[in-house]
Subunit: 238 residues, 2 copies
């Protein structure tokens, strides 16, 4: 009963089908779902079934055509960065591969995001990064949630780039942290080293030093990647 939230019928159908699709229950090639089928399965009206299908289509998972039903689109069209899609994927992903993929992407764009944040040098947005950093420090001594303050730090960096196209990546960061922080903390205790690493990123950005910010972010994420790999090995997860 964790977080059931009595969601709407449409959301219920959307979430269940989304998890099943991301879990690979339907062959991505050409399988099809019919309206009638969905209504019967969930004992719902056609309105609810159709709205759920529209949502899944909007996220790139389905393509609906009159008479043909809803076919699963090729993987390359799936909106893997969408928050819901990430959630559905998380439910069925193999931990090791999943976290590695997420960190590869974070390494690709967060380093440049830090560099951009440093060179833009927007006072307000950089202040938000520092604020998140202070929240992380508080969390490291037991005052607050370590995952959300960590996420807030990285989201603040994305916002400080002044580039809208970095914003949607915060969902990926959040997913990665939800996955890795509990795992690594359980093995290594509170991530003290992490706090120092975040501090280096913050100071480089505050100094307006793009190159140093890029390197500091790179060092930090490489460290996380190494730590997660160790953790996954130790716990024997696949």
């Amino acid at each position: 009963m964790a977080g059931d939230q009595t969601s709407s019928v449409t959301d219920e159908i959307t979430n269940i089908l989304g998890r099943e699709i991301l879990g690979g229950l339907f062959p991505p090639g050409a399988t099809l779902l019919g309206e009638e089928e969905i209504c019967a399965r969930f004992d719902a009206s056609r309105s609810a079934a159709r709205e759920a299908v529209k949502i899944l289509s909007a996220k790139g998972l389905l393509l609906t055509r009159p008479r043909r039903g809803s076919r699963i689109r090729p993987l390359k069209d799936w909106n893997f960065l969408d928050p819901s899609v990430l959630g559905w994927l998380r439910a069925s992903a193999t931990p090791r591969h999943f976290i590695t993929e997420l960190l590869e992407v974070r390494l690709a764009f967060e380093c440049e995001a830090a560099a951009l944040a440093a060179s833009r040098n927007n006072a307000d947005e950089i202040a938000a990064i520092r604020e998140a950093f202070e929240a992380m420090r508080a969390a490291s001594s037991g005052q607050g949630d370590p995952v959300s303050s960590d996420a807030a730090f990285h989201e603040a960096v994305l916002a400080a780039t002044g580039n809208r196209f970095f914003l949607p990546l915060s969902a990926l960061i959040h997913t990665a942290l939800q996955y890795s922080v509990p795992t690594t903390n359980a093995l290594f205790g509170h991530p003290v080293g992490d706090l120092d690493a975040h501090g280096k990123v913050l100071r480089a950005i505050e100094a307006g030093d793009a190159a140093r910010a890029r390197k500091a972010m790179h060092d930090m994420l490489s460290e996380v990647l190494a730590r997660v790999r160790t953790a996954v090995e130790l716990t024997g997860a696949s």
Copy 2:
């Protein structure tokens, strides 16, 4: 009448409202849209209006609550990497700022994508990159569309990373190319230099040299950025 395609009523409503939202017609803060309002405006049924709203909500633009109507969500929740959202944004973006933002993001992740493609070294997926390269060469001598072959090259690189989270970025690349290739070609003629630059990326990936692939991609995109900036200056676009 270019590309009208007689789309469905739902899609029509979705596209018009999407363009208006991305164009900033509705204050992102707290404005609201009512079902009744939408039905009346488009002379459509509530089903069509509701399905359009669900699609826009799925892309992070709206949040609908009983009695409250559909409110515009804060910008940070918008799915700017979604193909439709990118299209709506393109319709109202100021050319100079838009293309700069897109290229900043491309510089952030395409360099790492090239590096990953090189180190994974998957024969089939690298063959696809070469195939796209040959299509680009043909296009440079008038045989085929220069935009789509260029896009295919970069999408093939993303696919060759073996990382699903790079795939959704192909929409951004496609948008960037649709924007920049015609502009620069009109001023500089066929992009011969571009072909050489793509060749360098391809050879580095085929050689499995991650560092060289990363640098080749970086050089190429920096060059494009410089060229687009010049073009925008010359044409006097804002």
